[in-house]
Symmetry: D2
Subunit: 225 residues, 4 copies
């Protein structure tokens, strides 16, 4: 069997956060050449610089993640907490896309994969700001993908939830009765491993998924079907 | 038959824009007392002031609309055009909700209806910024509605498209071959009238729809089913 | 205010079952002339006869309901239980539609409303046969509506769940811990009344909803958004 | 790289039809041991016999396909054409599942993948009977998957459309203006190859997708997002 990302140059943003480490590990095993970006993408020029520094990019892994605090009532979500969700997860997505699309369109080949959230497809109490920003990401890839499908560039999104992750699901949180009550709504009786999630990312980043156009695909143990 | 909004105080934002006039006309006929707001809600304090000035609000019609220019390629959507979509349609929704929810929760009764867009549920080429912001609105009402359903407060959204509207569908645009080509994707062979749209808003604003929780309901002639 | 169904002839199938009584009561108050059908529509010729006997039909309320037993494991769903779901809820829908469409197309006006289920949009453990048949109804109205929208005939579906109903939610079942556990997944902390459901049916059956084409709209207290 | 289906026994129904040949070819390359079934599954006992003959089944590829004739108006869809869709694509799915589930549940491992259709998620004029039956398949996997997720058995569905296929899209049909008009609604400007489709099936059949529960995932060039 050939390696599934042989010869691909993959730019991974927020390389140390969210699914960054698992994706880098998996993609490296499958032959990708990884460019790890760790810049603060809330700075307006940072996206253009990250792409420019990366040079040739076959696949952009838009791994954009804010620190989500669950269980924040809407009345306690102040302006700063609200804005930060869009500043971190939404606006950089547009800037990254604008920076990387031209070379992909020119080559008539390229992929942008957003490591997003199932809360971008379904409501969840206590995370309104996060969920709104994740919905905006879904809208972004749906509409942009329609525009660039003709150039053989695909944008898709991993609508994940319930993936083992020290930031969102630390063991001490998972052990609480509050979490266990919410977790009853998840059909699969376990969290996903980061490796499983990275295997799905691998599929979407590879040439195996060229016919997927602007899809936000749930990866959530059946929480969203 | 009784009037369907008898005794309801309804706050309508951007009263002169988008569906404002049609809603005000329809709701007035059905007995509502309308509070028309015309303030610039991109100003951070304007939402709180609009609600405070309105006093008792049974129904908030969050009629938030940016000037959408259709057919703007993603590479030509500059930072200002991008941000304005969120500044006009998304951030004020959070501020309005925060301002009006406490009185609704206290009374254990209230409704927030967003006059949104079907592009918040489905991608559309050439309107990525608009579509992303409209998706964010959908996420907002889905998640917030789950939090306040227990207090008998409902948030729902009209996911409309292809409604007669001088701003989005002026007759000279409707007459173009470009529009007619796109319009082929709409199953219903005509635009909706503003009155039809307002009749749906009337249903969602009235006590007839208390069991609807966080729904973005398409009103688009079958463009989204 | 005028009566909302003044002058409409409405055929209601299975008039004594499911939402039949509530719909008949509500629609009568709003001026409709009701034709109540109680024939066994699993008999192949019964649908054509019901429509023929009814004569002029402005609105068909396809109220088709099987006795759903919840909590039936898939391995215990025998062939007879399986088939009955389609025999009662799906195949008669096609026969009724074929019988009533010609007069509606000829008049360039008409509505077919299916009183369906939210389990036609979302999976639910223990009701696979029921859910599959309800999904088939959703597919039916989505596709047929696209075909007849050009003739000003609309098909839409009420995707309901958690509505007070002696057949599906008898008080003794609602009182059980099993039900209460499942009911935690419903954001709205109460069942809907039949009257609320009938008010939604009224909206969809009236001329107020002519721009809705092939939609399965959730009415489920947020269980499906 | 290891072969992705090494050691898996995969039962493929209607082995000569629809995606059967492409799946058998792809899965064989990836190390699967294929059991090809060619029995007429409309015969009630055939499903049980196919599974019994197969013995140990790790993955069931429920490749069930009727001859779809596109463009059949609803009024011309007679009872026989209507029933055949359910007889071929829906009822055998239940019988196959009942036959194969017990061994999967006992081993706490197994997968059932339905090779379905995007018309099971979205309406399409002229194919109502087909679309209704495909929707029923979607409901089937959504509900059943919720029931057996606890046993580490996954059911998922490929909601495909616009895949090269001599039965549905023969070259002479693709060349017609009628097809080209409909094809304008597909964002991707080409049909998928059977190999691409089989690569997606490979992902869903492998251990890489254990966290997917009851999902109907579009594979349609963006026709459904």
């Amino acid at each position: 069997m050939t390696k599934r990302l042989e010869g691909k140059r993959v730019l991974v943003t927020q390389a140390d956060d969210y699914m960054g480490p698992a994706i880098i590990d998996m993609f490296s095993k499958h032959g990708a050449e990884i460019i790890e970006d760790r810049s603060d993408l809330t700075v307006p020029d940072a996206a253009a610089k990250a792409v420019s520094d990366a040079g040739h990019v076959d696949v952009l892994m838009a791994n954009l993640a804010a620190d989500a605090r669950f269980g924040v009532p809407i009345l306690e979500t102040d302006q700063e907490a609200w804005s930060s969700m869009f500043d971190i997860m939404v606006h950089p997505l547009h800037r990254l896309t604008q920076a990387v699309l031209p070379q992909m369109i020119e080559r008539r080949k390229g992929k942008i994969i957003v490591v997003g959230s199932a809360t971008g497809l379904r409501g969840m109490a206590g995370v309104t700001a996060y969920s709104s920003a994740r919905h905006a990401q879904v809208g972004y890839i749906r509409s942009t993908a329609l525009e660039v499908a003709q150039f053989n560039v695909q944008l898709n999104l991993i609508a994940q939830n319930w993936v083992e992750n020290p930031a969102y699901f630390p063991p001490e949180f998972v052990a609480t009765p509050e979490f266990q009550e919410v977790f009853k709504t998840v059909p699969m009786p376990r969290l996903a491993t980061p490796e499983e999630d990275a295997l799905f990312a691998l599929f979407l980043a590879s040439d195996e998924s060229d016919f997927f156009v602007g899809q936000a695909i749930p990866f959530s143990g059946g929480w969203v079907q």
